[in-house]
């Protein structure tokens, strides 16, 4: 049904104009129920904008926080309802006239994104870490984005108790885009979603309260490179469209595996011209690889992760990866399965250099945030190993990995926000020396996260790694598994280095202090630890979940 449906979405109106009058337009039917999660979040975001406009400054923070949390909770409820309603499995379908797919992977990923987003919002809202400025509790975002760093204007803004509460609607917009991204079922929706969640992120990156120059620099880099990448993606889409004459996943897929063949000899020149297809798909994939931060499209990652406000970093690192990998999966499994033998080797190569590159470069990092950035690159490589499996197991293993990984990441970055000195967060590794002596609990928690990153058994990291490697091996990519374990070994080295630093080296006299956070951040960290351990010790339930959601709708 999808092919015609998509056509009709645009063409009916056009056709109508030529044909018999304009007395009847068959309105496109939108399944609002099935789109509820996205709609709720976007709606909430819009409300957020309105709040900025109409609610007095003093109460904006609470209003925004309230709206955001409620919206995310509601959206998550909607996802659960849909999943319970069987839309993940039996009743999986394509909604909104073929624009959105509602199926297992989509729901699973949306659920993950929403939870991760929720936790991230908590860290956004944290106001106890920075010292009270001029009698106002402040969060980790700049008082007034427009004010020049260090200028009297900035101080005035702070004194006046300004706060960039826009971050909440921005985050909601981003989340909304992320919800659509992995469930987009035609390339246009795909592209729009990409932009919808990218643009707010660019802005969020620029809004750090401390180290604003770095923050802005991060934003610029992220923005320019992001735009650059999305231009490639768009051109890729154009070529695919040129090849298939449609942007609907279903149609393209059919054309690719040749169930639809060219009818018009005049179009033979382009229609079914594989060059277009191959180049196009390569360019789209490149755009996605950029988002997941795979080598060699990873270079923005460390700088942006370092410069962005840490809560935002955590959010990006977790949610963006989830959304982007979701989209990548759908693209490769739904649109380009016919091309498997062309993209598999390429992705194989990318996975290898990503795993190794990330792990190796991380060894010599001296800034905790950059370290985590490179670790996230390495993990992108591991996940790619699962993607390459091109089996149902592959999908579910990737889903599971994403779920496990995102919470560890947010938790880890949340811990990073706690370790502070006069200049804000003390992110330089040397500052972390002896943390285990000063505050064993925080150090222990962070150690748990690091062990999970390193994939030590009884942590979620191990379950995930095992799942993807298993899938890869079953998919016949045994060599990839070997590379994987080697790079995990390399990666282990620098995670261990941090642990050594925290526990085995004597604390420095001028070491950082550990701020006592509000329940918000505590929940974020707590959830992280809980998920890490539960998924490590008893992952079966979630594996089942991921396993059931392993089927895409075509």
């Amino acid at each position: 049904m999808s092919a015609t449906a998509v056509h009709s979405l645009w063409t009916t109106t056009a056709a109508a104009s030529v044909n018999d009058g304009i007395d009847k337009i068959d309105a496109p039917n939108i399944e609002y129920g099935q789109l509820a999660p996205t709609l709720i979040v976007i709606g909430a975001a819009v409300i957020g904008v309105l709040i900025e406009a109409f609610v007095p400054r003093k109460s904006r923070y609470y209003a925004q926080l309230f709206v955001a949390v409620v919206a995310l909770a509601a959206a998550f409820a909607a996802v659960v309802a849909l999943a319970a309603g069987g839309y993940g499995t039996t009743k999986a379908r394509i909604a909104a006239m073929g624009a959105i797919a509602v199926d297992g992977p989509a729901l699973f990923l949306q659920g993950t994104i929403l939870l991760a987003g929720m936790v991230a919002i908590f860290t956004f809202a944290e106001r106890r870490l920075d010292p009270v400025a001029h009698g106002n509790r402040v969060d980790s975002f700049v008082a007034q984005a427009g004010a020049v760093p260090g200028s009297p204007g900035e101080q005035a803004a702070t004194k006046a108790g300004f706060a960039t509460t826009e971050v909440f609607p921005l985050a909601l917009f981003a989340i909304g885009g992320m919800l659509v991204f992995p469930s987009a079922n035609d390339l246009l929706t795909f592209f729009i979603a990409l932009e919808v969640f990218s643009l707010p992120l660019y802005l969020l990156c620029a809004l750090a309260r401390r180290k604003r120059l770095m923050s802005q620099e991060a934003a610029v880099k992220y923005f320019l490179l992001g735009a650059f990448a999305s231009a490639f993606t768009l051109f890729g889409i154009a070529l695919i469209y040129g090849y298939a004459g449609s942007v609907s996943y279903g149609t393209v897929a059919k054309v690719v595996d040749g169930t639809i063949t060219t009818v018009d000899p005049a179009l033979a020149g382009t229609m079914g011209n594989d060059a277009l297809l191959l180049i196009g798909s390569a360019m789209i994939v490149m755009g996605l690889l950029f988002k997941v931060g795979a080598v060699p499209f990873h270079m923005w990652t460390p700088d942006v992760y370092q410069g962005a406000p840490t809560p935002v970093t955590g959010f990006m690192a977790a949610a963006t990866k989830v959304a982007a990998f979701g989209a990548l999966l759908r693209l490769l499994y739904v649109v380009l399965p016919g091309l498997r033998w062309d993209w598999r080797p390429v992705m194989y190569g990318v996975a290898v250099i990503t795993m190794l590159g990330g792990a190796i470069v991380a060894i010599t990092q001296t800034d905790i945030k950059r370290l985590l950035a490179y670790s996230s690159i390495a993990h992108a490589g591991f996940i790619l190993a699962g993607v390459i499996a091109t089996t149902e197991d592959g999908v579910s293993s990737v889903l599971f990995y994403l779920g496990a990984y995102s919470f560890v990441t947010i938790g880890a970055f949340a811990v990073v926000t706690l370790v502070r000195d006069a200049g804000g967060e003390a992110t330089h590794l040397s500052k972390w020396a002896g943390l285990g002596r000063r505050s064993p609990l925080v150090a222990a928690v962070f150690a748990v996260f690091l062990l999970a990153f390193a994939g030590i058994p009884l942590t979620s990291g191990f379950s995930g790694k095992f799942a993807v490697f298993k899938a890869a091996a079953e998919g016949g990519a045994g060599a990839l598994v070997v590379v994987g374990v080697i790079s995990s070994a390399i990666a282990a080295f620098f995670y261990i280095r941090v642990i050594v630093l925290m526990f085995f080296s004597e604390p420095k006299a001028d070491g950082p202090t550990v701020a006592v956070p509000s329940p918000l951040t505590m929940t974020a960290i707590g959830v992280g630890v809980a998920v890490t351990l539960v998924l490590g010790v008893a992952p079966q339930y979630f594996l089942d979940l991921a396993g059931q959601s392993g089927v895409f709708v075509r």
Binding site: H7, A145, Y202, Q216, V220, F232, Y241, G245
Partner: protein, 99 residues
């Protein structure tokens, strides 16, 4: 006229845009080059739409413009704030974070 020429032109524009991104220092210019790349895409879309005789491409082109506009808004915001704090619009000056 052979429709493929439009594609060549689009590709050419895209290449020019990309090259611009790679070689120009001024953030604004770099950004405009990105816009150029997007417009190259538009040209390709329109050409293909014509080729296929359906309007999807043309509509996508409109979407693209909107997106481009949005990017301009966000981008300029960021760039301006950067410029105000550094008094420089050179991409290369924004290199605090490295290694």
């Amino acid at each position: 006229m052979n429709p493929v020429n439009y594609l060549y032109l689009a590709a050419l524009l895209f290449a020019i845009g990309a090259t611009g991104v790679l070689i120009r220092r001024n953030v604004i210019v770099v950004f405009m080059c990105v816009e150029l790349m997007l417009n190259a895409c538009n040209l390709a879309f329109v050409a293909f739409a014509r080729l296929h005789g359906n309007l999807d491409g043309q509509i996508i082109a409109f979407f693209t413009m909107v997106v481009a506009a949005a990017e301009v808004v966000v981008g300029l915001a960021i760039i301006v704030s950067l410029f105000r704090s550094r008094h420089s619009a050179s991409v290369d000056d924004a290199s605090l974070m490295k290694l």
